[in-house]
């Protein structure tokens, strides 16, 4: 019983972490048709920036606010200076953002060193919570709730606000949105900022749970792409369902079949692409 409840909570918390990454990746793709491999760099930068903020201010909460903001600024700068130059050329996008991934990962190695480090959590989130003989680690519980809250907030933003309506319209028919006089370039940058900021937030939260180390950027961006592919490129609902699927499958796979752990992400990804490339909720 305890084994399963822990597994499910671990799966859920990983899923919510993946959702923070994949929601931005998916909406950026849906709106701008942009494949951003450097999304993993935003996670890495968020985690390392969080580490530095905690070192200076000794406050996890400061890191939770400042690091995602810093990453959002870096994200917009990157989009404005570099990425918009290769709009509408997928191969160029992949190569350019792969280059950014390499640059950021090597700079991070230079600045923060190669040893795995963990962001220290505040005392209030340490320990675990017992209920009816079942033990729940509080941090993972809090992370899961945070993910759900963010998911609801993004959904409300997209469904209920004017800017959200423009974003949805842009996903469906960008040319038409342009045609009726919306400055879609500004919307692109705003969405990119939010996506990068969410990835940075995932970096802080994940860095306190899983630690941060060189190569984490590659790892999470591949997982996030698996999520987006399974849910459907451009779909927020797909990103949520895909995150739950990958989070659960990956957690259960690692504990039940450790020898096959590396396959649990990519085999479903290949199967989905071969059978239904547009994913569960994607529009082809």
């Amino acid at each position: 019983m305890t084994f399963w409840s822990i597994q499910i909570l671990n799966g859920l918390s990983l899923a919510m972490l993946l959702f923070l990454l994949a929601s931005g990746l998916s909406v950026i793709f849906g709106l701008m048709r942009f494949i951003n491999l450097a999304h993993g760099s935003f996670y890495l930068l968020g985690a390392y920036a969080g580490l530095s903020v905690i070192r200076v201010t000794d406050s996890f909460w400061a890191a939770l606010v400042l690091a995602p903001l810093a990453v959002a600024v870096i994200g917009v700068a990157l989009q404005r200076l570099l990425l918009h130059r290769v709009q509408s050329n997928e191969l160029a996008q992949v190569l350019l953002t792969f280059g950014v991934l390499l640059v950021v990962s090597d700079l991070s190695l230079w600045i923060w060193g190669g040893l795995p480090q963990t962001l220290s959590r505040p005392a209030i989130l340490e320990g675990s919570w017992r209920w009816g003989g079942i033990v729940f680690p509080i941090y993972r519980l809090a992370l899961t709730i945070t993910g759900i809250v963010v998911a609801i907030a993004i959904w409300l933003f997209l469904e209920r606000t004017r800017i959200g309506a423009i974003v949805r319209a842009g996903v469906d028919d960008e040319e038409m949105v342009r045609g009726i006089g919306v400055n879609i370039g500004a919307v692109f940058s705003a969405v990119f900022a939010v996506g990068a900021g969410l990835a940075g937030l995932a970096g802080v939260l994940g860095g306190a749970m899983l630690g941060v180390y060189p190569g984490a950027d590659f790892e999470v961006v591949l997982q996030a792409f698996a999520v987006v592919v399974i849910g459907g490129l451009g779909s927020l609902r797909g990103a949520f369902i895909g995150s739950l699927f990958i989070g659960m499958v990956d957690t259960l796979g690692k504990s039940l079949m450790p020898d096959l752990a590396l396959f649990t992400i990519f085999v479903p990804m290949v199967a989905m692409l071969a059978i239904r490339p547009s994913g569960l909720f994607g529009r082809a």
Binding site: V86, S105, L262, F263, F266, V267, P277
Partner: protein, 310 residues
Amino acid sequence: MRKIHIAAGLAALAVAGWLLPPYYAGLVVDGLIFAIFALGVNLLLGHTGLPSLGHAAYFGMGAYAAGLTAIHVSQSFWIGAAAGIGGALLLGAVYGLLALRTAGVYFLMITLALGQIAWAVAFSWRRVTGGDDGLRGVPRPDLGIPGLLDDRNAYFLFALACCIAAGLLMAAIIRSPFGRSLRGIHENPQRMEALGYRVWLHKYLAFVLSAGFSGFAGVVFVYYKGFVSPEAASIVISAEAMLMVIVGGAATTFGPVVGAFIIITLSHVVSGYTDRWPLILGLLYIAVVLLAPQGVVALARRHLLRRAVR
């Protein structure tokens, strides 16, 4: 005239390889290996218009299959090469069936995922591949002539011969009616379909052949290093092969060879001065995409042309 130039260049390269200090000979051998690999990637990327983000899978397959054959079965080059190329062709035949169900951005995604599965096999199947420690102690191949490949400079000539053979074969494929149809498919698949060409079959054959060339590069690689690790099948290598093709000029016949030598030379030179090679390589990706998307040869030609016009 051009053929004489090429022959003279190759002869000069052969003599240089014999005389060069081992460090530089090693650099040129690395260049030759990746030249074969880039030729293979370009058949799909440049000539058919299908960008694969997982070609290190076939490179790794060639290296592991040849390495395992050399350790457990036979030291003969011919048997090892047959295992390596055969393995890569087989993997390409299976992966191609899956990958060609998709197009565009999904093709990039599925080749990336398939490549990661190949990497995961190399990483997890510890009993056979040695896991992340890699496969060690692969002996030099036996060509049937004793003592031929004992020192490193002799291996240089062997790698050169392999690269020339691969280059000639690739040139023949590209000039054949099959190669011309691939160009047609790259330009306009609907029209080729309407003209009665089997577009899917052409793409599939290009996919499998391209995997075979990449596997051959892996064979030459593993015999040279005597070692292969899962890194050889990783996305980093897949992306680097793509970069070589773009730097040299996609859709040209021998551009990928130029691209491979540029990247390998830079990596050796820069690594001699600083540990920050990944940083420089990343900047190189960015610079190539923004400044020379048609390759450095085209870039240089355009500059010369502009000067001539002035």
